[in-house]
């Protein structure tokens, strides 16, 4: 069903390599203002498109592929069919079953989006200059200043577009806006080395501590992630570790204990660790991208389980938070 981790990874990387054209433009899929989940204070998060990982639980699947992708929103579509006429490669087909998108043919040119009056078709992925991204980020300067917030570059994976991200961070820092790098840890060493000096803090994911399981669930090898984590720790910046808690995948006490041990012994500057309970609301995004959603039907984590994991996590020696929807609260949803 899924392609092998290796091929996914290489294809993801090569997809977006073209976007990092010396940093002149970056390929992003969202700029989220009033972001209150991605670091301290009120922030703006720039989501970079393209990720070397393909975690089965990914709640931003539109960030995985580096290429531009179409999303069609059935509830908005009024059947005007202007998109079909606009498409130069005939990649769209609208029938009573909905929109069929030929994803091989579609190159994300965006003419369909421009033609649609109803906003029912969107190109995910936009090429933007660092200066333009900076100007958008800088709009909320007053909110960062009053809250201790700033820019977070997330993804996708920011280190895959290091020149753009470096330039964006530099512009922000020159303007007095603090910066945060949010990375999955699977990074080329030089990209990380380039971005760490420009980051006021780092958010890094540690998901699974068993090597085989890591490869199976994320598509990449654990050693590279841990090496990055050590590099990040060595940079001496404040670090927040984040762990998605996914039932049957990452939610064992052994796994959390292993991450705690790694943090305690090898990541001294970690100031905070967030356990993020599995979020099941992203299924529709997979459908819109014609991607399989393997966690269909997977249950939410129970509150007591989150509390137990948070207690285990305490041995990491840093502040531990847990957040997210839990099974008890969303009964009946």
């Amino acid at each position: 069903m899924r392609s092998s981790p290796e091929s996914r990874t290489s294809s993801n990387v090569s997809d977006s390599a073209g976007a990092d054209n010396g940093g002149r433009t970056g390929r992003i899929f969202n700029i989220q203002r009033f972001s209150i989940e991605d670091g301290p204070g009120i922030r703006t998060t720039v989501f970079m498109k393209g990720c070397p990982l393909s975690c089965v639980w990914c709640h931003n699947p539109e960030g995985i592929a580096g290429r531009k992708q179409l999303m069609w929103f059935d509830v908005r579509c009024i059947g005007a069919r202007d998109c079909l006429k606009a498409c130069p490669v005939g990649a769209l087909e609208l029938s009573s079953d909905g929109m069929k998108i030929d994803r091989e043919a579609c190159d994300g040119c965006g003419l369909c989006q421009a033609a649609c009056p109803a906003g029912a078709i969107e190109v995910v992925g936009r090429d933007i200059t660092a200066q333009a991204a900076f100007e958008e980020v800088a709009r909320d300067e007053a909110f960062y200043r009053n809250s201790g917030g700033g820019l977070t570059v997330s993804g996708g994976e920011p280190t895959m577009q290091p020149a753009f991200v470096a330039e964006l961070m530099r512009l922000c820092r020159d303007a007095g806006i603090p910066t945060a790098l949010d990375t999955c840890g699977y990074c080329a060493g030089d990209a990380l080395e380039r971005l760490l000096p420009l980051s006021d803090m780092v958010l890094v994911d540690l998901k699974v501590m068993d090597e085989a399981r890591h490869l199976e669930l994320t598509g990449v090898d654990l050693a590279t992630v841990l090496a990055s984590a050590r590099t990040i720790a060595a940079a001496g910046k404040p670090v927040w570790v984040r762990t998605p808690v996914i039932g049957g995948r990452t939610d064992s006490e052994e796994n959390i204990a292993a991450i705690a041990e790694f943090i305690r012994s090898e990541m001294q500057p970690v100031v905070r660790w967030d356990l993020l309970a599995f979020n099941n609301t992203c299924g529709s995004k997979y459908a819109r991208l014609d991607m399989p959603w393997e966690l269909e039907g997977t249950g939410l984590i129970e509150k007591q389980h989150m509390e137990a994991l948070a207690a285990v996590a305490g041995s990491a020696g840093c502040e531990v938070h847990w957040a997210g929807v839990t099974a008890r609260e969303s009964d009946g949803d």
């Binding site: 203002r33 009033f34 209150i36 204070g41 009120i42 009024i78 005007a80 649609c116 009056p117 109803a118 906003g119 709009r139 909320d140 007053a142 909110f143 200043r145 009053n146 809250s147 201790g148 917030g149 979020n279 609301t281 997210g324 929807v325 609260e329 969303s330 009964d331 009946g332 949803d333």
Partner: protein, 798 residues
């Protein structure tokens, strides 16, 4: 964002379970109006008994157009149900202002029922009246003639959805600190001194009227003292007996003498305040006590320092005081509780803010009052909190925490720097700006000397767009409402369109100001309010009534309704018709005329391809600013013949719903009947970039030309504000809003699931408060249409 489940009734912001038993009982007693057959503060009409008497005035209720169908009935039937008051010898010899004063004196000293509720420490129960205007036959005839003409005018404006206007009572802050400091006796002595210097007979008679009113207040207090002594004899229980003796002592002293203790000050304030509602025959709206944490503080501090009172006792007194203003709502017990009218009786108090030197002046009483607000969970007095750059962090966090824990923030937030910038633009004295406070919902005024006629004129800005598209005609009826500005389909440029729009808008403004001038003269000439005039600085000195430009500062506020609907309509035309050329004006006019039936593609284009105000989008915001500056600067150029300057504000009360059916489809993609935008808020669903972007959009409007201030509501899902970390982020957001946003902000923290649950189970959710349009309201008491609107508003927030 995660799906959330409705909050259970016990998870809502509820009254504290720790309230002192007496306070809990008094609160329950107030809430359970149906069971309170021994006491309801319902409207009590009093008449001179002449066949031409009037006790109720349509022009005073012009801004409540829901009442238009009842105007005649109220005018004709209320006198029939009225208690006839024995008039003293020579009553008809004096001028009307003296007659009104005498009538007031007679009613409060002999007729107004006096009742002390079980356990209450602050007394003064019955105050809702409909008092005779004490007109003689000639005056009454002229008043009726003019009122009939006025009613035609309001009907014409309202039925076409243009707006409304009225000489609204209340909506000001009397000089209560002066009344406390001098006592009414001291004020009477001052009025006597003025009499000896007055040069005209008219001025002397006016001062006599003020004196008569103050003496009436003294008489009423004496009646309460008497009642307390009577009850003290009856009561067996020693504790209550002693309380009643103390109440009697206090009522024998205040408000005539200056209070010396916190209890005396609260009692004096309540008497003086409730009688304003009695005299104006208007239940509450906007008669606002102002900065009570400031002027009550010396009494509080002295009692604490001298060991007369501890903090707990002070709190209990405050809680007893807190219940009293809520009884204004008994006014409409019989006419029903729909349409949100029931919740808009904003007797605003203001806490926090800075002093003349710019330093914060919050004090222990500020904190105590926040506790009382949180624990009481009542509609009145409606609290406003003034925030500024130097508001201490702990106070700001306390405020943010209360917002996060209460579904509709218990208070409205006023931002001092932005509010004062606009009052400065208005030309008020620089040295007085620091002491401003809001009235009604959020309308900024100075304290004690300023009648700014807030909410007196309400104009539907979206109607000007409609009139532009249809050459001055109402789209539905074809009635001509504005000048001919030409066939819009033949216009060649955006500039040409703007010129036509400006002509229509200016003509609307002119028409409204003309109508209001007439209204102002109608009230000013026939309905003096000498008791209120005694309490507002400048009236006694000038010899002019508060209804007749007597105060030191006199304005009339024009409130802009449907601002964002109009702004987005203009932005869509500018971009799609004149810049991109993707929409033709002919097609647009046709589609608007057909309410977009069969024009869904065009409607979607307007919704999705045009820039929208509220997204920090510079194109949309520039158009919005153009619209705002255009009309707000224009009104400021005009004055009433009585000398009141017009000024602008943004408050839409319930008009954004009321005028939805009478406003044609709009070029922003809205269909006729869909609600208009509210206050300064973006069109529902149009703001898609979150709370920082919307704050910045508001801040770009150049709001200094809107001295009244603006109603801006934002909503957060409760899950976004749970936990101390997020409360800190909210506090930071508020600081930044003060730097970048508007003058006033209210916050709803509620999810649609809870609201739907409340709609279905109203009895379980009786305490659920939400912010509506500048005030908070019990959700289940609102009309279904407003409830649905609020649910829709919350539902589009992710």
């Amino acid at each position: 964002m995660a799906h959330s489940k409705a909050l259970a009734a016990e998870e809502l912001w509820n009254p504290s379970t720790e309230l002192p038993p007496r306070v809990a009982r008094l609160r329950d007693e107030y809430v359970n109006i149906d069971e309170r057959d021994y006491f309801r503060n319902e409207i009590m009409p009093f008449t001179t008994g002449t066949p031409w008497d009037t006790v109720w005035s349509p022009a005073l209720w012009g801004v409540v157009p829901d009442l238009i169908p009842f105007y005649k009935a109220f005018v004709e039937t209320l006198p029939l149900a009225a208690t006839r008051v024995d008039l003293p010898e020579g009553f008809w010899d004096g001028p009307q202002v003296v007659r009104v004063a005498t009538f007031f004196h007679e009613v409060v000293s002999k007729y107004l029922p006096v009742q002390i509720l079980d356990g209450e420490l602050i007394v003064g129960a019955q105050f809702n009246t409909a008092l005779s205007r004490a007109q003689n036959k000639t005056e009454a005839k002229e008043w009726r003639k003019r009122t009939a003409k006025w009613m035609k005018g309001i009907e014409e404006l309202n039925s076409h959805g243009m707006g409304n206007a009225g000489a609204t009572p209340g909506h000001l802050i009397p000089d209560y600190p002066r009344a406390l400091k001098m006592g009414l006796r001291g004020m009477v002595e001052y009025f006597q001194d003025l009499k000896s210097e007055a040069s005209s007979e008219e001025h002397i008679q006016f001062l006599d009227a003020l004196i008569i009113c103050c003496e009436g207040a003294r008489e009423l207090a004496a009646r309460y003292a008497h009642e307390a002594r009577r009850l003290a004899v009856e009561y067996e229980e020693a504790g209550r007996k002693a309380e009643l003796v103390e109440i009697a002592r206090i009522c024998e002293k205040v408000p005539w003498e200056p209070p010396e203790t916190f209890h005396e000050a609260l009692q004096s304030l309540w008497f003086v305040h409730m009688l304003v509602m009695t005299q104006e025959s208007y239940p509450g709206p906007g008669v606002s006590p102002g900065r009570i944490d400031q002027y009550l503080f010396p009494y509080y501090e002295k009692d604490i320092l001298e060991g007369r009172l501890d903090r707990g006792q002070a709190k209990e007194l405050l809680e007893c005081f807190w219940i009293k203003p809520n009884y204004a709502y008994d006014y409409i017990y019989r006419v029903g509780r729909t349409r949100g009218i029931t919740s808009g009786y904003g007797q605003l108090i203001t806490v926090g803010g800075h002093g003349p030197d710019g330093e914060d002046v919050s004090n222990d009483l500020t904190w105590l009052m926040l506790d009382v607000i949180e624990e009481m969970n009542l509609l009145e007095p409606k609290p406003n909190v003034r925030l500024h750059g130097k508001t201490p962090d702990d106070l700001l966090k306390r405020v943010a925490e209360m917002i996060a824990n209460a579904q509709g923030a218990p208070f409205l937030l006023n931002f001092d720097e932005n509010s004062e910038a606009a009052l400065r633009w208005q030309g008020l004295p620089e040295g007085d700006l620091w002491d401003y406070a809001p009235v009604g919902c959020l309308e900024n005024t100075l304290q004690g000397n300023d009648r700014s006629g807030t909410v007196d004129v309400n104009i539907n800005l979206a109607k000007a767009v409609e009139l532009t598209l249809f050459d001055g005609k109402d789209q539905a009826t074809g009635d001509r409402l504005g000048p001919r500005t030409g066939d819009v389909r033949k216009f060649k440029s955006w500039e040409q369109f703007c010129a036509a729009f400006e002509t229509q808008l200016m003509a609307m403004l002119e028409r409204f100001m003309e109508f209001y001038n007439y209204t102002d003269a109608l009230r000013g000439g026939f309905e003096p309010t000498p008791y209120l005039s005694a309490l507002v600085d400048g009236c006694a000195e000038s010899g002019k009534d508060v209804t007749n430009a007597g105060p030191e500062h006199n304005y009339v506020t024009v409130e802009g309704v449907a601002f964002a609907t109009a702004a987005d309509s203009l932005a869509a035309i500018k971009k799609l018709v004149y810049q991109d050329g993707t929409v033709s004006m002919s097609e647009l006019v046709e589609a608007v005329g057909e309410n977009y039936e069969g024009h869904e593609k065009l409607r979607q284009t307007l919704l999705n391809k045009a820039p929208k105000y509220g997204n920090d989008d510079d194109d949309a915001d520039a158009v919005a600013r153009y619209l705002s500056r255009l009309w707000t600067e224009e009104v400021f150029k005009h004055k009433t013949p009585s000398g009141r300057r017009y000024r602008a504000g943004y408050l839409s009360w319930n008009y954004w719903i009321a005028y939805a059916p009478t406003t044609a489809a709009t070029p922003d993609g809205r269909r006729r009947g869909t609600y208009l935008s509210n206050g300064l808020c973006p069109v529902d669903g149009a703001d898609r970039h979150g709370p920082t972007a919307v704050a910045l959009s508001v801040g770009k409007l150049g709001l200094e030309s809107v001295p009244n201030g603006d109603s801006h509501t934002i909503s957060f899902n409760p899950s976004m504000l749970s936990g101390t970390e997020r409360v800190d982020k909210l506090a930071a957001y508020l600081r930044a809003y003060g730097e970048k946003g508007g003058t006033a902000l209210q916050i709803n923290v509620v999810d649609p699931e809870t609201l739907k649950c409340a709609q279905e189970n109203p009895s379980d959710y009786a305490n659920l408060l939400v912010r509506v349009t500048g005030y908070n309201a019990y959700f289940v008491m609102l009309g279904k249409e407003i409830q649905d609107e609020i649910i829709a508003r919350e539902s589009h927030k992710l």
